[in-house]
Symmetry: C2
Subunit: 324 residues, 2 copies
């Protein structure tokens, strides 16, 4: 065991592409270790070159298979690809259900691919903040593509995928009604729509339904001038991935040139600022819990004060206690 | 149209059980209208008598059907039942997908049942805060049972179900692997497990799998002394609902008597305080965005400062600006 390696020692190793150093910095980001903040700030300063792709879709949409296959195809052009998978998992157990992403066995031995599952434990702000700090690690280490994969259910989870330059929403044929209803809520964030499993006989129905929805105004033109294309894929037959990579490149070029691209970059920065601030506040809350918070929450539990009074007391308490 | 009725005029009407007044106060809670806070504080002070039941489950688990059937059975004993449905919906469109909860048509003409779909738009803190204020409206209006139904995917969504006295997690046979993996993450929050659709031939497998998982320690004994029972139900055949109501009553009695119940009440109060404080902070952020935030986020977008520096600047800005 011994003394942990300081983050500023890990930093140059991570920048040089040392996977172990990168993984350790990601773990410290995830744990919210204050000692790691200067190193993470350095990584942020050196990042900004990767094409960040958010991929989201409802459970059963074939999202993880798409990520694996897309990564293999991107690798064929010699580019390095990082994958940050934000998995649903227990808010308590802290375990990441997908574990070591066993479906991605084809990729794990490739030195040009780095895969990280983020647990979704802890505060929501923490999940977004840590995931995007992990993206910075890959970006600063020179990975040309970073894929953020999140489950397309849950407001906090969907938000993270949107902190990407290009957002891909994956649909699939044959999902149940409940799933379809959830899907409708995320279609509009797509820069590119993928219909996976297009080898299935019912895929054409899914594609035409999606196109009809888009024509009715959902999800169209969310960048002012970008019309989100629909790309059918089949991981089984390897169909559609050339087109998908072309569309990703087209959208990347659009983002580099257009005002919409600059607006997106500003939006992502604003999102990071808010999520980091929320996370710092949450950490202060947790510290305050030992002191005044327990007395205030007891008064609230007894209904002697209202949630707003309790919340104001907490916010005032933070001001009084100041920054650690 | 005309001038909106002031919230303090709506308050006595809502307390008297006027559905229109209740609905309007819920809408104001959802909108986060500051004018409504004194009325919401009054409602909070008068609430605390209802048995609040959180029902969650993955998409396709038959959760909404369970809620409808359970409500019909509870109504048979003459108790009034409120339902707060926290639906997945777009973070942008603001629409609530399930709309008027058409599956609940049997219930909508019953004056002893109040159903409200909450949109999940806006800040996560706002969603939790507004949903629990809607619970207060029903509780203060004398509803004996309030059901909070949330989709069991997404950290923010699952958290809301836990702000209940009794948490029911719904499982179902025949769901895909992706869904099953998500399900595993929410099992441990259950006070009562329901296996729905037990008329299906593969239901016994689901029940025995669940019991095996529970015996292995997942989800068992999460109250210190309460062992979560497994209740098979079939809405098709009306099977299992007597047992479910018995278990809900048993758990309610346990919560009234045991130290675990008092701990739960304190936990719920703490959750409300935090979520309300996060929401107030988020509102301050949105106001600050007009001013310094835009300059700070531009510096962040240019990578001249780090997310932590931007976040601290924001927090300091809040302190300087003070409470509105």
């Amino acid at each position: 065991m011994g003394t942990p390696v300081p983050s500023d020692v890990l930093l140059p190793r991570a920048l040089a592409g040392d996977f172990a150093a990168m993984a350790r910095l990601m773990s410290r980001a995830e744990a919210g270790v204050p000692e790691s903040r200067p190193a993470l700030a350095q990584l942020y300063a050196r990042a900004g070159h990767a094409h960040i792709i958010g991929i989201t879709g409802v459970p059963g949409s074939g999202k993880s298979t798409l990520v694996s296959t897309l990564t293999l195809k991107l690798r064929a052009s010699g580019k390095r690809v990082g994958i940050i998978a934000v998995d649903p998992s227990s808010p308590y157990s802290g375990g990441s259900i997908m574990g070591d992403r066993i479906r991605m066995t084809e990729l794990v031995n490739d030195p040009g691919v780095f895969i990280r599952s983020m647990a979704t434990r802890g505060s929501q702000g923490g999940m977004a903040r840590a995931s995007l700090e992990a993206v910075d690690v890959l970006d600063a280490a020179g990975f040309e593509y970073v894929i953020i994969e999140t489950v397309g259910v849950g407001q906090a989870e969907v938000e993270i995928a949107q902190a990407a330059h290009t957002v891909i929403v994956v649909s699939a044929p044959g999902l149940g009604d409940d799933i379809q209803a959830i899907k409708a809520g995320i279609l509009e964030i797509a820069d590119i729509h993928v219909v996976s499993k297009c080898d299935r006989s019912d895929a054409n129905r899914t594609i035409s339904d999606l196109k009809t929805m888009l024509m009715m105004g959902m999800g169209v033109d969310n960048q002012g001038r970008w019309n989100a294309p629909v790309v059918p894929t089949s991981a089984l037959n390897g169909v559609g991935f050339e087109d998908l990579i072309t569309q990703i490149g087209r959208h990347g070029a659009f983002m580099n040139d257009a005002a919409a691209g600059r607006a997106r970059i500003r939006h992502i920065a604003e999102f990071r600022m808010l999520k980091t601030a929320e996370d710092l506040l949450h950490q202060r809350f947790l510290r305050a819990r030992q002191g005044r918070l327990s007395a205030v929450s007891e008064q609230l539990a007894q209904r002697h004060i209202s949630p707003y009074q309790a919340a104001e007391a907490l916010l005032d308490g933070i001001n009084l206690e100041g920054t650690p």
